[in-house]
C-alpha cells in the first residue's frame, strides 16, 4: 500500500512539472487559445474586446505553421456574450495535429498598443504525451492489437498473483531498458550511422537491465527478490521488450515520449495479463470441452479480448 502512495505522489509531481510551462504563458491581449471542434479555433481575451473589430474575419490571418503562404479561409468569427471569447469558424476542417499561427491584423492601436498580434495555436504537449501513453496502453495494446509478447502472456496468466508479479517486473525492466536504449540510440548509434546494429544493441541493453535488476534486488531487498526474481528471466523472452525500442527508434521519440511509450507498453501488458488471469481463474470452474482445456481456450478468450480492444481504435482523448 505504501508503495502505491509513493507511486501516486511521483506521478502527481511529474504531472505538475509538465503542466507548469502550459500555465505560465500568455501575455498581452490573449489569455488563452485552443482548438475547438475540428473546424474551430477558440481565442480567449484578457478583457472584453470590441465587437466591430474582433468579430470581423478580415482582421484575422490564419495558417498552418508549415504552410505560411496558404491562408485558411474563415467562415465567420463570433464573440460570446461577455465579449471575451472569440470563436473562429473555418470553411474546411483543420489539421489539428499541426500547430497553427493566428495573426490579428489592422488592430486599432489604442486597444493594445500595437496593430498586429500574432500567436501560435497547438495541441498541448502534455496531451500529446498522454495520448502516447493511452495509445500504448489501450488503443495499440501490445498484446491484444499488436499480438506481441504472447508466449509469456499465455505462460503467466494462469493465476492473478503471477500475473501481477510478471506485469510489475516487466514494466520496471521495460521503462529502464527503453530509456537506456533511447540514450544509446540518440547519442551513439545515430551520430555514427550505426542504425543497423539496433537489434544487437537493444537486446544487449535488455539483458544488461535484467542482470542489473537481478543483482541489485538480490542484495537490496531479498523479500522482493523472492517474489519477483523468477519473472526476471522470462522478461527477456518477451518480444514487447525489444519491440518498444524499435518503435522508439522508428518514430524518433524524445526522452519523455519514450518514457510514456515504455510505461504504456508495460502497463498495457500488466492490464492484459491481469484481465486474462481473472478470466482463466474462473474458467477452471467452467465446463470446457476436454480437447480445449488449457491453452486452446485461453487463445479463444484472448481473441474475445482483442475484439473488445478493437473498440478503442481511433479513440482520441486529447
Amino acid at each position: 500500500m505504501h508503495r502505491l502512495t509513493m507511486l501516486m505522489r511521483a506521478l502527481a509531481v511529474l504531472t505538475l512539472a509538465l503542466l507548469l510551462p502550459v500555465l505560465a504563458q500568455a501575455d498581452g491581449l490573449i489569455a488563452g487559445k485552443s482548438f475547438g471542434n475540428d473546424r474551430e479555433i477558440v481565442v480567449t481575451f484578457k478583457a472584453p474586446v470590441d465587437q466591430a473589430v474582433f468579430a470581423d474575419p478580415a482582421h484575422y490571418l490564419v495558417y498552418e505553421e508549415s504552410d505560411p503562404d496558404i491562408r485558411l479561409e474563415l467562415a465567420d468569427v463570433r464573440l460570446d456574450s461577455t465579449g471575451k471569447i472569440a470563436f473562429l469558424g473555418f470553411k474546411e476542417p483543420l489539421n489539428t495535429t499541426r500547430p497553427h499561427v493566428v495573426s490579428m491584423i489592422d488592430l486599432p492601436a489604442a486597444v493594445t498598443g500595437r496593430t498586429v498580434e500574432t500567436f501560435r495555436v497547438a495541441k498541448p504537449y502534455l496531451g500529446y504525451l498522454l495520448s502516447i501513453l493511452v495509445s500504448a496502453l489501450l488503443i495499440n495494446n501490445f498484446v491484444f492489437t499488436k499480438y506481441l509478447g504472447l508466449c509469456v502472456f499465455f505462460g503467466t496468466s494462469k493465476r492473478r498473483d503471477t500475473a501481477k508479479g510478471m506485469g510489475v517486473t516487466f514494466t520496471i525492466v521495460m521503462v529502464v531498458s527503453a530509456l537506456m536504449s533511447w540514450f544509446f540510440y540518440q547519442f551513439v548509434m545515430k551520430p555514427h550511422g550505426l542504425d543497423f546494429l539496433q537489434i544487437v544493441v537493444f537486446i544487449g541493453l535488455v539483458s544488461l537491465t535484467v542482470q542489473a535488476v537481478d543483482t541489485i534486488l538480490r542484495k537490496v531487498n531479498p523479500v522482493l527478490f523472492n517474489a519477483f526474481g523468477v519473472y526476471l528471466v522470462l522478461v527477456i523472452a518477451n518480444c514487447v521488450i525489444i519491440a518498444v525500442p524499435l518503435i522508439m527508434a522508428n518514430n524518433e521519440y524524445n526522452f519523455l515520449e519514450t518514457f510514456m511509450l515504455a510505461l504504456g507498453a508495460g502497463g498495457g501488458f500488466l492490464l492484459a495479463l491481469y484481465m486474462m488471469a481473472s478470466v482463466r481463474e474462473r474458467m477452471e470452474l467452467a465446463r470446457v470441452p476436454k480437447s480445449f482445456k488449457g491453452v486452446p481456450i485461453a487463445f479463444i478468450v484472448a481473441g474475445q479480448f482483442a475484439l473488445a480492444f478493437l473498440g478503442f481504435s481511433g479513440l482520441s482523448l486529447f
Binding site: 503562404d69 481504435s313 481511433g314
Partner: protein, 302 residues
C-alpha cells in the same frame, strides 16, 4: 582472476566476429536496398502515370523534381524552390525564393550533382551555402514534374496527412489541369480489414479522373458502391472490362462524391480531405512559381 580475463577476451572476440559479419552484410545489402527502393518508387510513379511493364514509358519521358524549402530570416518567411536549370550542365540548379504573397525575391544559382540532389542532407547543405548564413532553411516538400519531349505531362505529389489512427503517406498524380490521374497509398497504420482497405483499388481508384472543380468540393457519402462502378475501379486487376467501358463509367461518376469504405467512414473522409488539401495547396503554389519563372526568364526543363 584468470577466469575473468578469459571471459573478457572471449567476449571481445565474439563481439568482433559478430561486428564483422554484420558490418559486412550491411555494406553488401545497403547499396542493393537503396537501389531497390529507388526502382520501386520509380515503378509506383510510372504506374500512376498509366505506364506498366506491358506499356513501357517512352524514352522522351523525364521526371524533374522540384524541392520546396521554407526560408526564414528574422521573422520574415519566404518560400524557396530548388529547380533544375535547363540549357546548361546537368548540375545547374537555381533556388528561387518567392515571398508569401507570390512576389519574386531572389535567385541563387548553385551547382549540385543530380545524384547528390536526391540525398536530403547534401541537398540541404548546398541550399544553405547558396542562401548564405543568417537564414534558416527548412525542407518542406517535393513535387515531381513529368515532361514528355519538354511538354508538361503530369505532376507527382508525395504527401502526408493524418488518417484515422496515425498518418497516411501517399503519392498523387495530377495532369496539368489538376485532374487526378491516380492515387497510391505508400504507408499507413489504419486497422487492417477496416481503414486498411484504403489501399484497395475500389477505394483509391475512385479519385482517378476527378476534375479540379469537383475535387475542390469533394465529399464522402455513406452509400453502397454501385457494382458497375466497382467493376470499373477494379478493372486493372480483374481485366474484365475493356478500357472504353472503364472510361465511360469513370466519366459517369467523375463528379460524384467518394463512396465511403464500410466500417471506415472516418478513414475515407481523412483520405478525401487529405487529397483535397494537397491538390489545393499545390494548385495555388504552382501558379505563383510558374509566373515567377516566366517573369524572371528562368529557363527550366519543364
Amino acid at each position: 582472476m584468470k577466469d575473468i580475463s578469459t571471459i573478457i577476451f572471449r567476449l571481445t572476440l565474439t563481439c568482433l566476429v559478430a561486428a564483422l559479419i554484420m558490418g559486412g552484410s550491411f555494406i553488401v545489402t545497403n547499396r542493393a536496398k537503396q537501389h531497390n527502393q529507388q526502382v520501386n518508387e520509380q515503378k509506383v510513379m510510372l504506374s500512376l502515370l498509366g505506364y506498366s511493364a506491358a506499356k513501357p514509358a517512352p524514352a522522351s519521358l523525364a521526371l524533374h523534381p522540384v524541392y520546396r524549402y521554407l526560408v526564414t530570416e528574422q521573422d520574415v518567411q519566404t518560400l524557396g524552390y530548388l529547380v533544375p536549370v535547363a540549357g546548361g550542365a546537368t548540375d545547374a540548379f537555381a533556388l528561387v525564393t518567392i515571398a508569401l504573397d507570390g512576389k519574386f525575391v531572389a535567385r541563387h544559382d548553385l551547382r549540385l550533382a543530380p545524384e547528390k540532389a536526391e540525398q536530403a542532407k547534401e541537398r540541404l547543405q548546398a541550399v544553405q551555402t547558396a542562401v548564405g548564413s543568417g537564414k534558416t532553411i527548412q525542407y518542406a516538400d517535393q513535387t515531381i514534374i513529368v515532361t514528355d519531349n519538354g511538354q508538361r505531362q503530369a505532376y507527382l505529389l508525395p504527401g502526408e496527412f493524418p488518417g484515422f489512427k496515425t498518418f497516411v503517406k501517399v503519392i498523387l498524380a495530377l495532369d496539368p489541369g489538376f485532374t487526378v490521374l491516380g492515387l497510391e497509398i505508400m504507408e499507413h497504420e489504419e486497422d487492417p480489414g477496416l481503414g486498411g482497405e484504403i489501399v484497395q483499388d475500389y477505394f483509391k481508384n475512385q479519385f482517378r479522373g476527378k476534375p479540379y472543380e469537383a475535387l475542390k468540393k469533394l465529399g464522402v457519402v455513406k452509400e453502397p458502391l454501385p457494382d458497375e462502378y466497382r467493376g470499373a475501379l477494379e478493372a486493372g486487376k480483374t481485366g474484365r472490362l475493356g478500357p472504353e467501358e472503364v472510361a465511360r463509367i469513370q466519366e459517369q461518376y467523375k463528379d460524384h462524391d467518394i463512396y465511403a469504405l464500410t466500417g471506415a467512414t472516418i478513414s475515407s473522409r481523412s483520405v478525401t480531405n487529405g487529397v483535397k488539401g494537397i491538390v489545393k495547396k499545390f494548385a495555388y503554389r504552382i501558379a505563383f512559381l510558374d509566373r515567377v519563372l516566366a517573369e524572371q526568364r528562368i529557363v527550366v526543363p519543364f
